[in-house]
Amino acid sequence: MNRFGRYLAMLLLVCVVVLVWGLGTAPADYKVGAIFSVTGPASFLGDPEKKTAEMVVAQVNAAGGIDGKKIQLIVYDDEGDATKANLYARRLLTQDRVTAVIGPSQSGLTMAIIPLFEQFKTPLISCAASHKIVYNEKTGKPYHWVFKTPQSDSMAVEAIYAQMGKMGIQRIAIMSVTSGYGASGREELLRIAPEYGIEIVADEKYDPRDTDMTAQLTKIRALAPQAIVNWSIGPTQVIVLRNWRELGMEKIAFFQSHGFGSRQNIQLAAGAAEGVYLPLGAGNIAEILPDDHPQKEVTMTYLAEYTAKFNEPVSAFGGYSWDAMHLVIDALRAVGDDKAKIRDHIENRKNFVGQQGVYNFSADDHNGLTKDAFLMVVVKDGDWTLVE
């Protein structure tokens, strides 16, 4: 009898859930999906991305929508978990039946869901950096339905190596965090180094939740390279800077990845960030862009709106989401909610001025950016300064 009672309880539970879910959602005109790592270890990516996407949609809707039709944005939080990203992607595709999806925040999770978007023939505009997202190794071409807005890591690496060339740096050490972000940057650093005649004398790693990197830096100090490139994100990139300064290694130039691109990090480094070089997209440095820069206007607008609304500095990550969302809106304006037409529209879009660069998409390039989308910046007096 007990066993049946157990089943009764389970059945009841299912019924309750059915009822809760049966209440359904109100229909909207254009449905756009988003998957971001809003919580979990990669929340510093997903959090500003979600806020930005919601802000953009609210603005468009407040201004009357697109030809009188509103946008409904459905956001899911993958928490940095591949299983959840897969699940929510399937839900957006088969159940919410969205017209296009932006995100996920991380390269690995984007790779996890690309096959679904190819299968369901729906445009995906990723907010993750890896070039593998827009390059199918088997065909040597981009995936048909997949785009991405962030600059590829290879572009950041090239910008850094080009700057090193100008500074006469040839012997370097690299450091990276053992997450997808760090691993992808590390791979590009190692791959591109020979092209620029750069020798890598040390290749050190640390964990995303590590509290101290003195040991790795001590090892590097003894090898006396001319520069260190650090590829990480979150608190570790600040800790590593402090350790670098405390160990008296200022003579070794320090390059950060674009992941360092938030003024919060300069503040957190408490003075240790002075003299650090990094490549940044225009969206991070709106104030110091020359007035005739093509992105000056959009980046200043976003900066003002975002800081006013959320009372926190803008980050590159929010910019990725801004660009992705506006690309979708741009396509919806032009061709309506036909998925294939949206895809074709984005693929043929030229001179799209976004936060992270001026995009020129083509059938062979689903990122649309070049290494010029990065500007070299050095930290001076606690703020970004353009190099040169």
Binding site: G5, Y7, T39, D81, A82, R91, A112, G180, A183
Partner: protein, 317 residues
């Protein structure tokens, strides 16, 4: 506890069989079969773990490692060597069994929290290997291009087809475990759980039984991992980390540690909580999750599977 009743098993089997047919027709529940695919995979993990923890009384905080060994064996062998997926599933199970034997033989001599730490350490080390051996595993970004399963030209490409495959395997694991528990092995395990000293005095080869159960649990986990890899067509180390091991413990604690039914209830419940229901709480999700867990721990010491019994006892009194 000892006997597994036939009627509930029949009810369960029928419910599982018709579930996708019903839910596929309700728009709001369309994705439930998908959730049940993952829930089924979790069941494979928790059934094994409940044999180990609930019946043999041995804790494991590194069970996600075997899940990962299954998934990565399938992934690496199919992607890099193009082997037949079914063969890879077997290879994954075999490798997991060997690793379990190698690590279990010394580790299961440890007591209580020491065993917990040893298994936890093992789980973290295995995860670091997944993350660092980029050439084979794809590193933190994960491994792409794992093929789907097909049998004699029949492709398990739709969710519903995969659903039946996974649940058929779960049914197999369930029947196997139920039979195991009713055999002399099951009695020996319970004796070990109650008192190792007494069991030893009765001439039960404690060490051998403990390792055997550990290997069985590892094989079930590896099967789950392989099924996961071929369904997702993608794996990354994050799926098999320490926090998933802890989540597995939470599943069997929530469902009820001392029965395979409890293990299944817990697995299904946590799958739905974490993939679906808690989503509605937004930023409060993790707090609510913690509260649910705390309430169950405080008020339902036997887990949710012990709930009907508690209710009937309350009524009889």
């Amino acid at each position: 506890m000892l006997r597994i009743h036939k009627p509930p098993m029949a009810v369960g089997a029928v419910a599982i069989a018709v579930l996708p047919l019903i839910m596929g027709r309700v728009p709001a529940l369309e994705h439930y079969p998908l959730l049940m695919v993952f829930a089924g995979i979790y069941c494979l993990l928790t059934i094994g773990l409940s044999l180990l923890m609930g019946y043999a009384g041995q804790i494991s905080l590194g069970h996600a490692a075997f899940y990962g060994i299954g998934a990565y064996t399938s992934g690496v062998l199919t992607v890099h060597f193009g082997l037949n997926p079914w063969l890879c599933i077997l290879a994954g199970a075999l490798l997991a069994a060997l690793v379990a034997l190698a690590i279990g033989t010394p580790a299961l001599k440890l007591q209580g929290h020491y065993l917990a730490m040893a298994t936890l350490a093992f789980g973290i080390i295995v995860n670091i290997v997944f993350r660092e051996e980029v050439r084979w595993t794809g590193g933190p970004d994960g491994l792409i291009g794992i093929p789907m399963l097909s049998l004699f030209g029949f492709h398990f490409d739709a969710i519903v087809k995969y659903y039946y495959l996974v649940w058929a395997v779960v049914a197999g694991a369930f029947v196997f475990s139920a039979n195991l528990l009713q055999s002399p092995v099951g009695r020996a395990l319970r004796a070990i759980h109650t008192s190792e000293a007494a069991a030893g005095a009765m001439g039960i080869p404690i060490a051998r039984y403990k390792v055997t159960v550990f290997v069985i649990a590892a094989v079930m986990a590896a099967l789950g991992g392989s099924l996961y890899a071929h369904f997702m067509n993608f794996i990354n180390p994050g799926t098999f980390d320490l926090f998933f091991s802890i989540q597995l413990i939470l599943m069997i604690a929530l469902g009820g540690m001392h029965s395979i039914w409890g293990a299944m209830v817990g697995a299904i419940l946590i799958a739905f909580l974490s993939f679906e229901w808690l989503h509605h709480f937004g930023e409060w999700e993790i707090v609510v999750y913690g509260l649910v867990l705390l309430v169950v721990t405080i008020f339902f010491p036997k887990g949710l599977a012990g709930l009907p019994k508690m209710v009937t006892e309350r009524i009889r009194r």
